[in-house]
């Protein structure tokens, strides 16, 4: 079946511009996560959605970052007024349900370059 998909695969933007990154989770997966993967920094947790509950935004690095999940499916991560330090690979993952021991299925990522 189809896995987690993300778009675009690559995004180059100028400093100060806003960007939107999209994630389509696996159908039926109630939990959705966003991570940032930077060279030498590993995976940095950004935000987590579980069903209809309020999202856990504790990992968002600044108020320029926001995310929403519509209809319990597709999610969009928005970065406003991008900065060069936002350059990274943004990964989305979903899991069937959040039990703490479930497998996360990752998308291919969006490589964001801020010039």
């Amino acid at each position: 079946g189809a896995g987690v998909s993300q778009s675009p695969s690559n995004k180059v933007t100028e400093k100060g511009k806003d960007v939107e990154l999209r994630c389509d989770p696996i159908s039926g997966h109630t939990a959705l996560y966003w991570y940032r993967q930077s060279l030498g920094q590993g995976l940095e947790f950004l935000i987590y959605f579980q069903g209809n509950s309020a999202p856990d935004k504790s990992g968002l690095p600044s108020d320029r970052f926001s995310a929403e999940r519509t209809g319990g499916s597709v999610s969009t991560l928005t970065i406003q007024r991008t900065q060069q330090e936002d350059s990274a690979v943004y990964l989305c993952a979903s899991s069937f349900r959040d039990t703490g021991a479930g497998e996360q299925y990752f998308g291919p990522g969006t490589r964001l370059t801020v010039t």
């Binding site: 991570y35 590993g42 995976l43 959040d98 021991a101 996360q104 291919p108």
Partner: protein, 111 residues
């Protein structure tokens, strides 16, 4: 604070040699631990989880609560094991689960 530490950024071993990727965690609760792997040009994927007590592709990992470690081991490394490996901890906070990943270890298996 909850934390996952992978002390080695790069580990190089020869084919056929044993390999151990280190992972230490900090968490006051009951830990759920995972190893994820990312092969070149592939997605990050689950390798194994401690709760399953499984061996995948010859890899095993044992949770040692006394040493707060979850090291990944394989007795005989293969070239196809070359990849980026991430240790992850699932923590339960405020009624939800959050995953904390380590910074990763790149394993290079040399011919």
């Amino acid at each position: 604070a909850q934390r996952v530490t992978q002390p080695e950024k790069l580990l190089s071993v020869f084919k056929g040699a044993p390999v151990e990727l280190k992972c230490n965690y900090s968490y006051s609760g009951s830990p759920e631990l995972f190893w994820y792997v990312q092969y070149s040009r592939q997605r990050l994927q689950l390798l194994l989880r401690h709760i399953s007590r499984e061996s995948i592709k010859g890899f095993t990992a044992d949770l040692n609560k006394g040493e707060t470690s979850f090291h990944l081991k394989k007795p005989f490394a293969q070239e196809e094991d070359s990849a980026m490996y991430y240790c992850a901890l699932s923590v339960h906070t405020s009624g939800t689960y959050k995953y904390i990943f380590g910074t990763g270890t790149r394993l290079k298996v040399l011919a």
